[in-house]
């Protein structure tokens, strides 16, 4: 890099003191500033346009259905009557289900990586987990259809019925596709996010916190669980929000395994539908303006949910990494 630096020939001495606006303009600084500023502002523009276009393009269904759009469950393109409840239900059930499995699993793995594993092993495993996060969602869907669905039908489903079949959650016929299958596939997809963000946050906990706990006679686990994890809890919560936002918006893998049947059922074996899945299946074939408008409206709902969750998550993570996660 040294050779690049020597090519700078502008050694002309400037006046001492802060350079005037005119001289900065002549040097091109202000121009460069302006150009990059315009490019940066494009991001704001795109985001605002995104919200605006969604809002404008769902006017038809907003006017026609109003709030009951979210509380009714008729979805009938033929008679032009639309209610989004089954999709919202399916999205929430599958996402929450995935978190129920992914949070303990991810947190445990993050604890292992930050507290126990030697740095080299921890880095290698973290890299593999990053790779897992890079796998395209359609590939998770592919594996979902051909691996998880048959397993659900032959192994997991019957086992759950056998042991927990008395709960309404595990009653009813098991087709292989449904809420639980989608939840399991989503778990695999969001767990890398929980692990990598939680690990980062746990690694920022000061070393003396651990040492103080150990010096007081705590076991390694107690030091971790009662001191390190509470210290990092805000950031961990942030990682959970991030994962939830991702689970809510996940399209392909869910579409491929949820069964695509707009019904509300307490049974996790039941096929269902999600917001993203119905958009994926029907948007290209929407056969009336009202249908299209309704799809845009649930798209807007999905957008707002993830927008709020992501916003909260970022704030929490930033707060912890700045050390504001703990009052001391």
């Amino acid at each position: 890099m040294g050779s690049t630096a020597t090519t700078i020939d502008r050694a002309a001495p400037h006046d001492a003191g802060p350079r005037s606006f005119v001289s900065r303009l002549r040097d091109g600084d202000e121009v460069a500033h302006l150009i990059t500023l315009i490019f940066a502002s494009t991001i704001l523009l795109i985001t605002i346009m995104l919200v605006w276009e969604l809002w404008v393009n769902c006017r038809l269904s907003r006017v026609q259905f109003g709030w009951p759009f979210f509380t009714t469950s008729d979805w009938d393109p033929v008679f032009n009557h639309f209610g989004a409840l089954p999709f919202i239900y399916g999205t929430l059930v599958t996402s929450v289900l995935s978190l129920v499995i992914a949070v303990p699993l991810g947190l445990a793995a993050a604890i292992f990586l930050s507290e126990l594993a030697p740095r080299r092993i921890s880095d290698t495993i973290s890299f593999m987990i990053d790779l897992l996060a890079a796998v395209p969602s359609v590939i998770y869907g592919l594996l979902g259809i051909f691996v998880v669905v048959p397993m659900m039908r032959t192994v997991i489903g019957p086992a759950l019925k056998h042991t927990l079949g008395f709960l309404p959650l595990f009653k009813g016929p098991n087709y292989g596709v449904g809420f639980l299958t989608a939840g399991i596939v989503l778990t695999i997809m969001v767990v890398p996010f929980i692990i990598s963000v939680s690990r980062e946050v746990l690694l920022t906990v000061p070393r003396d916190q651990r040492e103080a706990a150990l010096a007081l006679g705590a076991t390694r686990w107690e030091a971790t669980w009662k001191v390190v994890v509470p210290w990092a809890r805000t950031g961990i919560l942030g990682s959970v929000f991030l994962a939830l936002a991702r689970a809510l918006g996940e399209t392909m893998a869910v579409t491929m395994v949820i069964g695509n049947d707009p019904k509300i059922s307490a049974s996790l074996f039941s096929p269902g539908y999600s917001i993203a899945a119905v958009i994926a299946n029907e948007f290209a074939e929407a056969f009336s303006d009202m249908h299209l408008s309704s799809l845009v409206e649930i798209g807007l709902v999905l957008f707002l949910m993830t927008f709020i969750l992501n916003g909260l998550a970022r704030l929490l993570i930033v707060a912890t990494e700045r050390g504001g996660g703990h009052p001391s």
Partner: protein, 284 residues
């Protein structure tokens, strides 16, 4: 009593710590399972025809996905020329020029845009580039991917520019270089490796996106000349073939999945290795 408590605490310690290790290895083993399944199932149906032939109608074997591979390349090309300049320049703004408050707004918006579900980006691109002209096109799909590529490129560019030591900037400016010349001739070249890495990772990320393409490019069984017609692409073909009822199409889907996964993972691994090699000299 206290002895029991001690034994209890010590065994809890061992059990919980073991469980955390089990959790970590369980998650990592999923990666190897995915690789195993795809190599096993995809490898069986991967052959030369896959890369050179068009898809055949149902019932006829021997087709390939040449059009989908070219389609994906074209989409990535569009995404790159439209999205990368915005991401790169905005990254330069945040790292070098930005005032505090406005930078915060941009950075926050970028993160939020990054978290927007890809299907919603698909709706957006469809509203802008498909509904007005009433036909699907490669262009619309490329635009959707471009929107997705911007936030990823921006954050990585900013990060790598910030990693360039301030002394380099001061050195250049002490020689009398203006700020933008310092950036163009000193800072950007110093961060070049990292920025290219970020760009490659961003491309790898959008290469596998399916949802934004469903109703912007639609898919196509034939070649798609130009930029203004529906086009096939690898992720879309995987989706359509996987949900079809035909065994032959399933085999093709596995093969396409293997190609796509190889593309994505090799890019990730390659850039990582390059970065850790160049890590010592980067920014010096």
């Amino acid at each position: 009593m206290t002895r029991f408590r001690l034994i209890w605490r010590k065994s809890l310690n061992v059990v919980m710590l073991t469980l955390t290790g089990v959790a970590a290895f369980a998650v990592v083993s999923v990666l190897f399972m995915i690789l195993g399944y795809l190599i096993w199932n995809g490898g069986k149906s991967l052959n030369w025809n896959f890369f050179t032939k068009l898809p055949t109608p149902v019932g006829e074997t021997g087709g390939g996905m040449a059009n989908a591979i070219v389609g994906t390349m074209k989409l990535l090309f569009l995404a790159a020329i439209m999205g990368l300049p915005i991401g790169l320049m905005a990254g330069v703004y945040l790292a070098e020029f930005g005032g505090k408050a406005y930078s915060f707004v941009i950075r926050y918006t970028t993160d939020l845009l990054n978290g927007v579900p890809s299907i919603v980006i698909g709706i957006f691109a469809s509203i802008l580039f498909v509904l007005p002209v009433k036909h699907y096109s490669t262009f619309a799909g490329g635009m959707a991917l471009a929107i997705m590529i911007i936030p990823i490129t921006l954050r990585s560019t900013e990060e790598f520019l910030r990693a360039v030591p301030g002394s380099l900037r001061e050195g250049a400016m002490a020689l009398g270089a203006s700020k933008w010349r310092t950036i163009a001739t000193v800072v950007l070249p110093a961060a070049r490796g990292g920025i290219i890495t970020g760009v490659l990772l961003a491309l790898a990320r959008v290469a596998g996106e399916t949802a934004p393409l469903l109703f912007t490019t639609l898919g196509n069984e034939f070649w798609s000349p130009g930029w203004n017609q529906p086009t096939a692409s690898l992720p879309l073909v995987i989706y359509n073939y996987a949900i079809s009822p035909y065994d032959d199409w399933h085999r093709q889907a596995w093969a396409a999945g293997l190609v796509l996964l190889a593309l994505v993972l090799l890019t990730n691994i390659g850039t990582r290795v390059a970065l850790s090699r160049g890590g010592a000299s980067r920014g010096v």
